[in-house]
């Protein structure tokens, strides 16, 4: 069993299942902070998936997307937290 087969039959399905589980929380999260947490975790999953896919396809360029996503996700989460804080309790 080569590494590419192992990745595409064992690792990528696990990551996809995890992303689906997180998407369930995005869909039915009772409040906005729940959805923000779930979206943050989904971005982390996308980083992990593109890193794994760079091994599977022997193409290190996919890591650039992971770098950019790691930078952007933090900004998005901070912006959402700032907005939640500004919005206050009764909105």
């Amino acid at each position: 069993m080569t590494l590419a087969t192992y990745i595409s039959w064992c690792i990528l399905p696990l990551l996809g299942t995890g992303m689906l589980l997180t998407f369930i929380r995005v869909l039915r999260g009772p409040s906005l902070p729940d959805r923000v947490v779930a979206l943050d975790l989904m971005a982390t999953f996308i980083i992990a998936t593109s890193a794994v896919y760079s091994i599977a396809s022997n193409q290190p360029s996919y890591l650039d997307a992971a770098v950019v996503l790691a930078l952007i996700t933090f900004l998005g989460t901070v912006a959402f937290a700032y907005y939640l804080h500004k919005r206050g309790r009764n909105a």
């Binding site: 290190p60 890591l63 650039d64 939640l84």
Partner: protein, 126 residues
């Protein structure tokens, strides 16, 4: 030998990321969800990226991987802390079996709370 380490690192990282997803779905409370998501996803991403660095074994890839891991380790706690704080002040209720609420019990922020919050037993002002 190197392939074995790569396989183990990949499986470990995927396992931790999957546990994070499971925690986000199954935990009863947003604060526990934040905890599960940030801790497990940080470790999972770090393991997977270490496997990538080990696979390519070139300076450019390793530099990128080290940059991603360092940035994740720096920013994930900050983001989790900001989210938990914002969620607390926007009135997210704690799990009903939670026993400690030190931010509410400290009394410093009680003025910013409205009245529709269910009172926890140890949330009185000192």
């Amino acid at each position: 030998m190197r392939d074995t380490v790569i396989v183990l690192l990949l499986f470990g990282g995927t396992f931790f990321a999957f546990v994070a997803a499971l925690g986000v779905v199954r935990m009863p409370d947003i604060y526990m969800r934040i905890s599960a998501a940030s801790k497990a996803s940080t470790l999972g991403t770090s393991c997977i990226l270490a496997a990538v660095a080990l696979y390519f074994a070139s300076t450019a890839v390793t530099g990128k991987v080290v940059a991603i891991i360092a940035f994740t380790l720096l920013t994930a706690p900050v983001a989790a802390h900001m989210l938990g704080r914002a969620a607390y002040f926007s009135g997210e209720p704690l799990w009903e079996k939670s026993t400690a609420d030190e931010l509410g019990a400290s009394g410093a922020w009680c003025d910013s709370k409205s009245t529709n919050q269910p009172e926890l037993p140890d949330r009185e002002k000192p």
